[in-house]
């Protein structure tokens, strides 16, 4: 029950709803620079590959790819869930999420190198190596059965299904939202809500299996039913951070000055805090169960993440992915300061990369003789960073391009007014 009268919604062609020129001009530098950085990074990464780390090059690429993909899919989930629960508060930041969500389409193209690697033996996924079973003295029958799932044609088919589902969902919700900008049709909101239930189910199923395919099968003999949820937890956290950060950048550049208020940052901050806890909960549960059960088939995965420098990364994740952001975003006063929240969002986006790196890179090592996993020296670290920075810049460039061609807020969404006047209790 606010004292002040609610501000009126501005007309749809107000400059506050357009991408500011300063950001518009960043598109080409980001696209070009990103591509160059990605290519240099890949070149460096392949040069680091050696007998100890035969799959380093493609692993660096996969790290960057999964980093961006988890954020993009997190945004897709964010949009779906807002429709599912008929959320009102989030309308002012939903278009930002939608711009990132639609990046599933370019991500499908960026997936192609990974797809090719599956057909060249042992370039990324060790199960593509025909010698794998014999080198590790695995039981032939068991391996034959397992190959029913882990084989290149089926992998290709599954990837097509995943990207088919995500692409269809992203395009459907993007079109629905953008068209509403023009038509202002209320029924569009109803339609999108109607499909959001099945959409969330299809999304969860495909995400879970994609995580098994692209993350878990890096160590073909390891398995954890929780793994899909783990990848989801990191992705949804990073997605909220990306939305927060991008909204902040938009505001700094001059858009959405009056529409997005500390109330929205407060809510995003609550979600960020909540998902930091959720990520911790999921990763702790996974670790705890495997640590306590102490079965060699399972502990192997964590064991290779305690060797080399990765032991420090594991401990570091506890402190920097949980404790620091947990206490950092706990207070209401922090969450209501857009600048501080934007800092924490950027910070978590960095540690999310460490999390993905920690999942992927230890598997680049030579498995047959149980080589200790490594970072590939300074050059290897530089290569990994260049890959991820390059791909992120590329995708951000595309996001700006998409945002520039449309409005940065769903201007005719029937709940926009509710979102603008929204106040936390």
């Amino acid at each position: 029950m606010s004292e002040h009268a609610a501000p009126a919604v501005k007309p749809a062609d107000d400059p506050a709803f357009q991408l500011p020129a300063s950001l518009r001009s960043l598109q080409m530098p980001l696209l070009g620079g990103g591509l160059v950085a990605l290519l240099i990074g890949m070149g460096l990464a392949f040069s680091v590959s050696d007998a100890d780390m035969p799959r380093f090059g493609m692993s660096a690429y996969l790290t960057a790819f999964l980093y961006v993909l988890t954020i993009v899919l997190g945004c897709l989930f964010f949009v779906l869930i807002q429709h599912l629960v008929r959320a009102g508060w989030s309308v002012v930041v939903r278009r930002v999420a939608e711009c990132i969500m639609i990046m599933t389409v370019p991500m499908a193209f960026l997936f192609l190198p990974i797809l090719f690697s599956v057909f060249s033996e042992g370039a990324l996924f060790i199960w593509t190596d025909p010698e794998y079973a014999s080198k590790l003295h695995l039981d032939e029958n068991m391996w034959e059965t397992k190959k029913l799932f882990l084989n290149a044609p089926f992998f290709l088919l599954r990837a097509l299904i995943y990207f088919g589902i995500w692409g269809a969902l992203a395009v459907y919700y993007w079109r629905g939202s953008v068209n509403q900008d023009e038509t202002g049709e209320r029924a569009a909101t109803d339609r999108m809500q109607y499909w959001s239930g099945p959409a969330v189910m299809a999304f969860s199923l495909s995400l879970s299996f994609a995580a098994f395919d692209w993350g878990m099968s890096l160590a073909p003999m390891w398995f954890s039913t929780m793994f899909g949820v783990y990848m989801f937890a990191g992705g949804i956290l990073a997605a909220h951070c990306a939305i927060t950060l991008m909204t902040y950048v938009l505001q700094r550049a001059g858009a959405l000055k009056e529409e997005v208020t500390p109330e929205h940052y407060h809510d995003l901050g609550k979600y960020i805090f909540g998902f930091v806890v959720f990520w911790t909960y999921i990763s702790f549960s996974q670790y705890m169960l495997i640590w306590y059960g102490n079965i060699p088939e399972e502990t192997e995965w964590f064991f290779s993440r305690q060797e080399g420098g990765f032991g420090y990364l594991s401990i570091g994740l506890i402190f920097f992915h949980w404790l620091l952001p947990f206490f950092g975003t706990m207070s209401r006063h922090v969450r209501r300061r857009p600048g501080v929240m934007a800092f924490w969002a950027a910070y978590i986006l960095v540690v999310h990369f460490i999390d993905i790196y920690w999942i992927v890179m230890p598997e680049a090592r030579m498995v047959e003789h149980h080589t200790i996993p490594g970072f590939g020296g300074a050059l290897g670290i530089l290569a990994s960073l260049l890959c991820v920075v390059g791909m992120t810049a590329l995708v951000v460039g595309l996001v700006l391009r998409v945002a520039g061609g449309n409005r940065v807020v769903p201007v005719r969404d029937p709940r926009l007014r509710e979102s603008i006047i929204f106040e936390n209790i």
């Binding site: 029950m1 702790f284 640590w291 209401r332």
Partner: protein, 489 residues
């Protein structure tokens, strides 16, 4: 607040409103008029009223944070002290200080204490419980928990002046304005309440007192046992009988067809003294029976094997006595182990000597000539059924005619009147006896050449002494026998 007891102490002024909005605007009016000691009473939390009244935020979150942190520390300290320092106990191979395993309890205690902080902290900050409140004196105030909203200005406010406040409140559109006066309703609690309270306290103390009395006094009565058979377990001792099993034995033998842990460490050859591999070629069913008897604790198979051996041994006995042409017996056809499976060294021979002295020498004599104490006694009383023990020094018992395995089998299963010693003497000790018997046999046929030169003289001297001693003993024995005969006559 002044406690001067005039007829009614005035605490302040209240005004009633019917809607949230009218209350809110009245609050702002009162705040803007400069009053600070004000309050509003509503049936549900009204948002924005803290601003309208100028209420400051609460410190409650800090109380919770501190309480929660205390919970974490207590939980971690408790678990580390209890499981890693004071009472170390290995469980499922986990370290004493297992941080992951301590997290759940640490989490729960954090939540518990933080919740206590929020719950009790809130009541403490609110000054509750407080059962008497001047506001309650006005009967219309009962609707403050139903559908009415009240604004209150305290009389201790610097700007308070009854008439001014009343007119200000009337100005805001209130229908009902009244002074809040001291609660003069009777303070004493009704007597039945005390009675019920006293009785329930007394009743709740009874069990406590009972337990305390029992803890500090001694009783001549035996303790009360809820599960009698848990306190006094009906476990049986080794030789007792039980009705639980058909054979009434409390002690159970091994289950046929199974191998107990720690068994089957020895080969079947060693267990039986038979060269099983050779036997497999000639008599597979017997090998099968041996496996069941010796490796799978099949009592029946063991009995059958025993019977075969005994019968054949007797048959051999008769055969040798009666005719040389008797058919070859099992004892002869069995391919016996030729060589002692244990490494023969001084230790083994010492063991063999010791065991021989304990079990064998009573009949066979310390020297193995078959003249042990039992035999001497049997001879002296002319026991009619006595079969004299065999001498170890007849040629038929030498290793080439009587292989080690056969000797072992005889010790284990017995022959003629001699019972089997498998039950008394351990497996390896029986083989040690076999080794010792071989040494004993050799000792009676040894030539002096075998003795090292350095010790020859000593041996010769010892032989002389021994011979003299034997002679002396024989003479003494003769004398004694003569003396006995004389005495008998």
């Amino acid at each position: 607040m002044s406690e001067t007891k005039i007829e009614t102490t005035v605490h302040g002024m209240m005004a009633e409103f019917t809607t949230v909005d009218s209350l809110l605007s009245a609050c702002r009016r009162v705040r803007d008029a400069g009053y600070t000691k004000t309050d509003a009473y509503t049936p549900f939390p009204v948002h924005g009223i803290d601003k309208a009244l100028g209420i400051k935020p609460t410190v409650l979150p800090w109380i919770c944070l501190i309480a929660g942190a205390t919970g974490t520390c207590i939980a971690l300290a408790m678990q580390i002290w209890m499981n890693s320092i004071d009472y170390k106990y290995i469980i499922s191979g986990k370290p004493f200080l297992s941080l992951p395993a301590f997290i759940p309890v640490a989490f729960e205690l954090t939540i518990l204490l933080a919740s206590f902080g929020a719950f009790f902290g809130m009541w403490a900050l609110n000054g509750l419980p407080k059962f008497s409140n001047p506001m309650f004196t006005d009967p219309r105030f009962d609707r403050a928990t139903d559908d009415r909203f009240f604004l209150y200005v305290d009389a201790s406010d610097e700007r308070y002046d009854a008439a001014g406040v009343r007119s200000l409140m009337a100005d805001t559109g209130s229908d009902y304005i009244n002074e809040v006066v001291e609660d003069d309703s009777p303070k004493e609690v009704p007597k039945p309440v005390f009675l019920i309270w006293g009785l329930s306290v007394a009743a709740s103390l009874v069990p406590l007192i009972c337990i305390l009395t029992m803890r500090v006094t001694n009783s001549s009565q035996p303790r009360f046992h809820i599960f009698f058979d848990m306190d006094f377990s009906p476990a049986k001792d080794a030789q007792q009988v039980t009705s639980l099993f058909v054979d009434n034995r409390a002690m159970r033998s091994d289950v046929p067809g199974t191998v107990a842990r720690g068994q089957m460490e020895e080969s079947l050859d060693m267990l039986t003294g038979i060269d099983v591999e050779a036997l497999t070629l000639t008599d597979p069913p017997r090998v099968e029976r041996l496996v069941r008897a010796y490796m799978q604790a099949d009592d029946q198979a063991k009995a059958e094997e025993q019977e075969t051996l005994e019968k054949e041994a007797e048959a051999t006995d008769e055969a040798t006595e009666a005719a040389e042409a008797a058919p070859a017996s099992v004892m002869d056809t069995t391919p016996w182990v030729e060589k002692n499976p244990l490494t023969v060294d001084a230790d083994l021979l010492a063991t063999g000597q010791q065991q021989f002295a304990i079990y064998c020498s009573v009949c066979h004599g310390m020297d193995g000539y078959g003249n042990g104490l039992v035999n001497q006694r049997a001879q002296s009383i002319s026991a009619p059924t006595w079969v004299p023990p065999a001498s170890m020094h007849q040629e038929t018992l030498y290793a080439d005619k009587y292989p080690d395995g056969k000797l072992f089998s005889t010790i284990s299963n017995g022959i003629r009147k001699m019972p089997g010693y498998a039950g008394q003497i351990k497996l390896k000790d029986r083989w040690a006896i076999v080794a010792y018997v071989r040494a004993l046999q050799k000792s009676q046929n040894a030539s002096l050449d075998l003795v090292p030169d350095a010790k020859k003289a000593a041996v010769e001297k010892a032989v002389e002494e021994a011979k003299a001693e034997l002679k002396r003993q024989a003479e003494e024995a003769e004398k004694a026998a003569a003396a006995r005969q004389q005495a008998q006559q």
